[in-house]
Subunit: 379 residues, 2 copies
DNA sequence: ATCGGGTTTGCAAACGCTTGCAAGAATTGA
DNA sequence: TCAATTCTTGCAAGCGTTTGCAAACCCGAT
């Protein structure tokens, strides 16, 4: 009997191996594609608290305490442990820690993508602040998960990260609802619509747009075109409102034909720019809802043979790095992007440290940066 | 004796307390900064395989098998399990999985920062390819860890990630040596110097520079300035070599004064540009080692009152998004950045699937993109 | 029916760490 | 000096998975 079983088993295993390759393709569930001589064991040589404990001559719980918190540990013991750890090159295993209930010291960032000056500036801020607090960053891009937000967020928030930062979430509610618990820490940046109990960070969009428009008016413009962002975003409508308010304040009639739909992208700005420039009575200045749109619109103007700013002026919004690299250097409304990222992290860490903490909304102020893309109309 | 010991201890403890705040900063080991009334418990309501197992009426190992591998599972059982999992909203806990020896399905990306068109394009490529393979991304920025690479990498690679991609690592060896095991999977992008047994991805730097220089010569330029990158990077010296080779090929003497040191940044490019422009015999064209430098140099030229391309021509390298947004649109050598990212991921996943796999080096080809920043010298 | 083979399933032991509990040590106050 | 405290330390029980091993099962062939 033993002998037969052996044979059986050997055969079974062989079969198993042979059919694995095939079953990989058949199986509809997400799974591990590995087949071959993959050594499943994680590197053996990894040093654990047990090793450190042995080296230091204490129990492993003591080692854990030294590394994970402020529990009482005798100074000498602590020294001994740290020394032993250094000697051995010990590094905590984050998975184990967070499995066991501790923190992972990782926060998740959910963004549409980072190939965009606006977002990468914010990410820089986040990164800086995180580094200061000994946290790491997990980057999740959303663009291709339309419709699966719930599942997506669930798997993100399921253990791995201590908190989440959402940048420009188009369908905020979908995300929020998927969070594993009522008070899972998260912060919104540039949210769609103000969620009542959410922490969030944004900038004075209305005021910024008002200032920019006001500036154009002050140097003599009366026909001022406006290029919107994606209108689902509240930043976008706020900017539009600011623009209208400034016009109204100066008793300039609001002319709907001067408002062109954009999408916060260069292409959309280009199209909107064309539309405005081709107007029978062309505007003398165009205020775009963000720098990318402005750059697109400028291109449209240039193609039409217009000189900037002599023939037509432009103002952008955001002050992404490209704004000052563009030619002519773009006059724009600066959002403190890096700072926005930093503040978001601070709010988030606050909330992680104390889940009871009330949600807060922080609005940072914008600033008009005057560069070379504006001039009074017609000489 | 006891008494002395007491004193000693009291003193030790006091010292300890007083120095804690300080030690937080000093301590090289990462630790949890939290103090307060932090409820350490993770959300209770999380669904585990055990719940799914109960719901489906099978054992938890079966559930595990359904979600993690190709072990034999009866079709019906599988269905039942999946259904139960969906009903309950089960999501695998990555920490537990990877602790238990499975994969984390996370790869780490080590980059100097992402606030830079070059890198964020590559990251986009990485992201795309990773999404396709069901992997997630952990982002580590390096700039502030000078001198601690070893510790840093160790903590990264210790369990959490299945593999690592290093972008432009200035001190590659330091990183590589810190990897937890001889064959921990990693891929280099744009490495410093070719590490013998490393997988890496790069572009035809030499050829690209040769082509660009050749192009300038072909439209009539003879005095061609060159702005270098950081010379530690092999990409940088390769480009310089390509430039020299093209000159030589056309029997143009290499003039050291026409080579200015840059650093791949706009500022450095600006300074180098000034230096070249102020030369007693000004070059009629400048080839910058990357687009950012070119943009900086263009600014320097413009400040000097030169018209581009009429008075002086410029060529860049990389073709980052800004290159086509700049004015005039920059003629440049395109690197397939997105593709570089994608290939890196593919190499990495290959290696993860089969650690025995030989390291490979992939070199993608560059392409000269002619736009508006070049013209024949002097009309 | 019964047997032998492969196929499914379940059990239990990790993985490395945190933390409640309790015992031991040191300190304090009387 | 002794009890009452306050510190320290160790033990052991998880955390949610994976996976080797072994028992149970199913099926066709005898």
């Amino acid at each position: 009997m033993p002998k037969e079983r052996c044979f059986a088993n050997v055969f079974a295993v062989t079969c198993l191996k042979m059919t694995r390759l095939f079953s990989v393709y058949c199986n509809r569930l997400q799974k591990d594609m590995s087949v071959s001589k993959n050594t499943r064991k994680k590197s053996q040589n990894s040093i654990t608290i047990v090793d450190v404990a042995r080296e230091a001559g204490v129990s492993y719980s003591t080692v854990s305490r030294v590394f994970s918190g402020f529990e009482f540990v005798n100074g000498d013991t602590r020294e001994k442990v740290i020394e032993a750890a250094n000697r051995l090159g010990y590094v905590v295993n984050l998975q184990a820690r967070s499995l066991a209930g501790g923190r992972s010291n990782i926060i998740g960032l959910l963004a549409p993508g980072i190939d965009n000056g606006y977002i990468s500036e914010i990410v820089s801020g986040i990164d800086q602040e995180l580094a200061r607090s000994n946290y790491d960053l997990m980057l999740y891009t959303t663009h291709r998960y339309a419709g699966k937000e719930a599942f997506y967020v669930k798997s993100i928030a399921n253990g791995l990260v201590d908190g989440l930062i959402l940048i420009v979430p188009l369908i905020t509610a979908n995300y929020i609802q998927a969070l594993p618990s009522q008070d899972f820490p998260y912060v919104l940046i540039d949210q769609t619509d103000s969620m009542p109990h959410s922490s969030s960070v944004d900038a004075t969009n209305w005021q910024g747009a008002y200032d920019a428009t006001n500036y154009l008016i002050s140097i003599g413009h009366r026909r001022i075109g406006f290029i919107t962002g994606q209108l689902q975003l509240s930043s976008s409508t706020e900017r539009l409102d600011g623009y209208r308010a400034a016009l109204q304040h100066h008793h300039i009639a609001y002319d709907e034909s001067l408002v062109a739909l954009g999408d916060y992208q260069t292409k959309g700005g280009y199209a909107a720019g064309q539309q405005l420039i081709n107007l029978p009575q062309r505007p003398t200045a165009i205020f775009a809802s963000n720098d990318l749109s402005a750059i697109g619109a400028i291109e449209a103007a240039r193609e039409r043979g217009l000189r900037i700013p002599n023939d037509i002026s432009f103002v952008g919004f955001d002050d992404i790095p490209q704004a000052s690299l563009a030619y002519p250097k773009l006059t724009t409304v600066r959002q403190p992007l890096v700072q926005i990222g930093q503040v978001a992290v601070r709010l988030l860490l606050e909330k992680i440290d104390d889940p009871e903490k009330e949600a807060r909304r922080v609005t940072l102020s914008t600033e008009l940066i005057i560069r070379d893309s504006c001039a009074p109309p017609h000489g």
